[in-house]
């Protein structure tokens, strides 16, 4: 009792000092409320946060909001392009900073061997529903342990404007050096798939590229430079194609044009007759995460039919979901070329990352290519 009496004046003391405390408080409250409304800061703050390091397709609110609402969690998204960039960001972080990683699935073993990814249990994920070429590939396990689950896939080939090019030319990898497209080509800036496409055009499988092959690949890469107008990230090359500054995007396919095709029907894409090159995104949980359970739930959500439908059609780029049960309507499936996938998959091989020394030599050649 005495405590209450003592405490009360102390708590109220500031109000004794002002002539009209109620007015002031009302005013302050009003100001605060207005400010909060203006700033759109909601008073209810999510109980938890999940930090995800992902490709830009995971930044779409349409994809992450259902999970945030269901688990009363806030997802912090950091986007990157290219495994090297992800590793660099991880290196600049502290343990516990990150919970979920999306990474090119063929790179997952390399990342896992660095101790970055946590082991996953096959039983937690709908592996049976995934397209089988994804789950049967070698990169799914490291010494029998799974570290990442395939979640989305597509191809590296060519995307183009039907009205500006001869679609027949697009079927061959020789288009890279075709004089008809001088200064009309954009290259999606990802070094090893571009060089692997060159290798495929020479009859060398991506995983068979050796140090001895690099001088020839370098020569061929530099030889295509006169045809190149711009080398850039996904949106830069999209921008160039949409604005008419280039007629085709090399090293791109569905992921650079599918989202645009409903608006601009003249856009199309294909894989090369010489062979298709597949990209496969994987998703996993950080070994250093303090919220592995929640992180796993996020991975499960992304792999669920609902999450897969949203991921396949997300803002940054559309592409095939890994899960064959993904919730998609017919028009979306048509754009994704759902029915043609069997044929594409038959003709394609996954793009895999090379040994560290070859990889680093490739990056040097790429810098030289940019500069040439």
């Amino acid at each position: 009792m005495s405590n209450t009496i003592k405490a009360a004046p102390a708590a109220q003391s500031p109000e004794f000092l002002t002539p009209s405390p109620v007015t002031r408080r009302t005013f302050l409250g009003y100001t605060a409320a207005t400010t909060a409304t203006l700033l759109g800061v909601k008073p209810a703050i999510a109980a938890d946060e999940l930090n995800v390091l992902v490709w830009c397709d995971h930044a779409d609110d349409k994809l992450i909001e259902p999970f945030e609402a269901a688990h009363n969690v806030r997802i912090n998204v950091k986007t990157y392009e290219g495994t090297g960039t992800a590793l660099s960001l991880i290196e600049q972080s502290r343990p516990g900073d990150w919970d979920v990683l999306v990474v090119d699935a063929p790179d997952a073993p390399t990342v896992a061997r660095r101790g970055i990814l946590a082991p996953l249990d096959d039983g937690d994920f709908p592996l049976g529903d995934l397209f089988s070429p994804l789950t049967s590939a070698g990169f799914n396990y490291v010494d029998g342990t799974r570290y990442a689950v395939p979640e989305k896939f597509g191809y590296y080939g060519v995307a183009y404007n039907k009205e500006k090019v001869d679609p027949a030319d697009m079927r061959s990898a020789q288009v890279m050096w075709n004089d008809a497209y001088k200064g009309r080509i954009a290259v999606y800036d990802y070094y090893f798939p571009t060089m692997q496409l060159i290798a495929i055009s020479m009859g060398i499988a991506p995983d068979k590229i050796g140090m001895d092959d690099l001088p020839t690949i370098r020569e061929k890469l530099l030889a295509m430079k006169p045809n190149i107008k711009i080398i850039g990230d996904i949106v830069s090359v999209q921008n160039a194609l949409v604005n008419g500054d280039v007629d085709l995007i090399l090293n791109g396919a569905e992921f650079v044009v599918s989202g645009l095709m409903p608006t601009i029907p003249a856009l199309d894409w294909t894989i090369f007759d010489e062979g298709g090159l597949m990209w496969i995104q994987g998703i996993g949980v950080f070994e250093s995460s303090n919220k592995k359970d929640l992180a796993k739930k996020f991975v499960q959500y992304i792999l669920s039919p609902d999450g897969q439908g949203r991921l396949a059609t997300s803002e940054c780029y559309w592409a095939m979901p890994a899960n064959s049960q993904a919730v998609l309507d017919d028009s979306q499936k048509k754009i994704l070329r759902w029915d043609e996938q069997a044929g594409f998959l038959d003709r394609s091989v996954p793009s895999t990352i090379s040994q560290p020394d070859i990889d680093s030599a490739m990056l040097d050649i790429w810098t030289e290519f940019l500069q040439s």
Binding site: G40, C56, E81, R94, D97, V235, V242, T263, I264, E315
Partner: protein, 263 residues
């Protein structure tokens, strides 16, 4: 005759220059009102949908809040220590005065990018996490020389006399500084605050290198640029432009009254 030609060519040059200067701004603003999914020609007529979408974007609105926070706090601190330094240098004949001046102005010679990389490497080596605080410190580094220079250039002999007079009348150091000098310098202080806030508000590369999830508005806009082609970017860019202009207008008004008072 000569005059007429001269006037004609002057006017044409002026108009052409203004056309050149305004072309990208007009296109940026125009396509923020695009009624369609892509910010490219043709223009489909006015719509506010992208502004609505932008204001519904929680991350963007939050980054707006972060940007204001960083700009206000870093500019406030920069203006205070810049003012103190200018006062100290103006009041006393320092042995190292020109050395100190050079030291304080030195960051002007180094690109924002390099200041950012330097701080990034430092954080990394000492294992300090990136944060908005780091961004604010970076902005203080780039703005301190400007704040110092603006305030210092306004310290004339008459202020030295006023300073002496205040002391002779018995004012303490602190009250001379806060009650006499600071009010006289108010226009310069406000101008340096506004300039610094404007630069911090629109700064990208340091914020990009040193922030984690709590990012500033320019970083979010850059990420939007990389995440898809959308007129929402135009809307966000237009908003940043509008707020910058408001800040510039405030400092211009302050400067205007300043020159009228002293001149």
């Amino acid at each position: 005759m000569f005059n007429r030609i001269s006037r004609f060519s002057s006017t044409s040059y002026l108009l052409l220059a203004l056309l050149f200067i305004y072309l990208p701004v007009v296109v940026l603003v125009l396509f923020s009102f695009q009624d369609g999914l892509l910010p490219v020609f043709p223009f489909n007529g006015p719509s506010l949908q992208w502004y609505e979408k932008m204001l519904e974007n929680e991350r963007l609105v939050e980054s707006l809040y972060n940007s204001v926070l960083v700009a206000v706090l870093s500019s406030l601190l920069t203006t205070i220590i810049g003012f103190l330094a200018a006062y100290g240098l103006a009041r006393h004949s320092h042995r190292f005065a020109s050395g100190i001046q050079f030291l304080l102005m030195a960051p002007l010679m180094v690109s924002y990018l390099i200041i950012g990389i330097g701080l990034l490497i430092t954080l990394n080596i000492f294992g300090i996490p990136k944060s908005l605080v780091a961004v604010g410190l970076g902005h203080m580094v780039i703005n301190l020389p400007l704040c110092f220079a603006i305030v210092y250039s306004q310290f004339g002999d008459h202020l030295k006399n006023i300073d002496c007079a205040a002391r002779d009348l018995g004012a303490s150091d602190l009250s001379t500084l806060t009650l006499v000098i600071a009010p006289i310098m108010k226009p310069a202080l406000l101008a340096s605050f506004c300039l610094s806030a404007t630069l911090s508000w629109d700064e990208f590369i340091i914020a990009f290198l040193l922030s984690r999830f709590d990012v500033t508005l320019p970083v979010i806009i850059f990420e939007m640029l990389r995440a898809g082609l959308t007129p929402e970017v135009n809307a966000a860019g237009t908003m940043v432009f509008a707020i910058s202009m408001a800040l510039v207008a405030v400092s211009a008004v302050v400067m205007f009254f300043n020159t009228r008072n002293t001149g």
